[in-house]
Symmetry: C2
Subunit: 334 residues, 2 copies
DNA sequence: TTGAAAGCGCTAACAC
DNA sequence: GTGTTAGCGCTTTCAA
């Protein structure tokens, strides 16, 4: 007999319906019977078939989490940490995370098939198709990160506010001329960082398109020409590239540049002395995204949420000072 | 009407059974009817309810992929790349990847509930419970990476062979005294690397327990005392830590060390001149793991597979020479 | 080749 | 409080 519910019913001399009530906790049932059922199940290591439950209850207890499957992908830790945050959060409520490609086809398939109850898009795929599809699909979903499309529930760090606070804090400690190096102009996160920086340090030069070591060094040299000696890096990879290029003396004219990074990372942490950086918590973002769809599944109205960050600023002795906060929260998820 | 199969049947004036046959491709059906059904579905953007299919066919079309949810996790890219490899491979055959915590409870839950048809364990959790449970659970599963437990189907790089080949290649080009720095002694991958290195460079000193910059520098100094001037690093983080420590002159006695890494990474790629390294392909491992369980689901007998690697060795001009191969394959998955 | 009907393992009314 | 029964949306005999 493959139906565990029938097996328990038979063994305990009760009906399948009663066993079901013990499991779901719904409907009236004597505390004693319920305990008998649960004990029996625990003792015999039995659990109900999830798929049958799903079909009957019209819920899949599964949430899709998109990840880019593009092989030359950057920001691995952002995606994995976020997913792990979501997994942990989902597990508490009995949900699971189905990891899928962020391609429109993959998203449409799992949604169309009813394989998931909600979708977390871990970053705008920029295909002009996925997000609109989700909007009209009528199931809960949230986007992690920024987007140009309006009317979408989002979970994100406030990159702009973080960069503003960080830039301000650094410029209070260091004197000199500030400049910023960023990656692709199309990247929405970079744009937000640019705005935060420019608000804190108006009229400071910004160099774009630092995509590899060569272009990063070129950007730095450009800034140096303009008299910059405090370089803010839009990303940790830019920062690492710059640091090693400097140490190897590959930046001309040779000059002592002070570095600060808009994004912390393990690679950066390995450097000594410590480079000041903003510490984002992708895991918290993933967890918040999961909470957001869970709430929508519970009937609540969708709300954006903004996740806090930390400023990691080393003092002279190499010790760390940590500060910073999400001062601009619409709603801060616990 | 929530049943798409009934809707199509009604619209086309045929029975639900026929529609089902068109979808599954099983059973006798006229090519014309089949086309009519498929066309209608495509035109109206309809797809069958996966959960009902699953219940009826007793298959979940889902494969669990475990990831450590331990917050202070290392090797993010290994886990994410592997998962992405699995997602891509699974998608082709209509399967999906359910990402779950590698805790015994999580694994038991999804397996017990019948929520997945197979399990990929992305690294031995070392809990002495999960793997044995899976062995007796009777559903297909594979382990990525080494384990002390026997009789388990595995997919992995041949770390030992790779390190042997790499060490040999480096020592043919560079003259000097070699030494190796490794992380935790409990780590099975590190142990395999140790063996490969020692086979290629017998009697060379090996320093263990390089877990952060301090211990790494200490390990390096230890080796220097022994006359080592070619340092092999068991991991890219060790390599980066050493590189920056050297550049900052934090290793005593100050000496010119040449570095080589048993594991390549983006952080390492950013360095210039290039540090020779072994390039592993976690994505291929994940894909192979997925293929492995898929084959078992297809009734084939489980087989271990070993995935190839590349040696990345820079010449004087900074150009790259790539070589290396999986010379010890039991079976190399495409 | 197609239709009808009996499940798949569970939930949820509805009676008792 | 518990048993009975009718689905959930699909697959799969078994007839026709």
């Amino acid at each position: 007999m493959s139906s565990m519910i029938a097996e328990v019913a038979l063994a305990l001399g009760i009906s399948k319906g009663t066993v079901s009530r013990a499991i779901t906790g719904k409907g009236r049932i004597a505390a004693a019977t319920k305990a008998r059922v649960l004990d029996y199940m625990a003792e015999h290591d039995l659990s109900p078939n999830a798929i049958a439950q799903n079909l009957s209850s019209r819920k899949s207890m599964t949430i899709a989490y998109t990840v880019p499957t593009d092989p030359k992908m950057r920001h691995l830790s952002f995606y994995l940490s976020g997913m792990i945050g979501a997994i942990d959060r989902a597990m508490i409520t009995g949900y699971d995370i189905l990891s899928i490609s962020n391609s429109p086809d993959a998203v449409r398939r799992v949604v169309g098939q009813g394989k998931v109850d909600a979708v977390i898009v871990s970053r705008d795929p920029g295909d002009e198709v996925t997000l609109p599809y989700l909007q009209q699909a009528g199931l809960p979903f949230v986007l992690i990160g920024p987007t140009r499309i309006s009317g979408i529930t989002r979970v994100d760090h406030d990159h702009q506010a973080a960069c503003l606070e960080f830039t301000t804090a650094i410029l209070q400690r260091w004197t000199g001329k500030a400049g910023l190096i960023l990656g692709s102009r199309d990247d929405l996160v970079s744009q937000a960082r640019d705005e935060g920086f420019t608000a804190a340090a108006p009229d400071s030069p910004v160099a774009w398109n630092a995509l590899d070591e060569t272009s990063t060094v070129a950007a730095a040299e450009q800034l140096v020409e303009l008299g910059v000696d405090i370089v803010f890096c839009g990303d940790d990879s830019i920062c690492v590239a710059l640091e090693t290029a400097m140490m190897a003396g590959r930046i001309h004219p040779a000059i002592e540049l002070r570095l600060a990074s808009f994004h912390n990372s393990p690679a950066l942490e390995a450097l000594n002395p410590r480079i000041p950086a903003i510490q984002f918590d992708s895991s918290a973002v993933g967890a918040a995204a999961c909470s957001a769809v869970l709430k929508q599944l519970g009937g609540e109205h969708p709300v954006d949420s903004i996740i806090g960050y930390q400023l990691v600023i080393g003092d002279r002795d190499g010790h760390l000072a940590r500060g910073g906060q999400a001062t601009y929260s619409i709603s801060v998820d616990q």
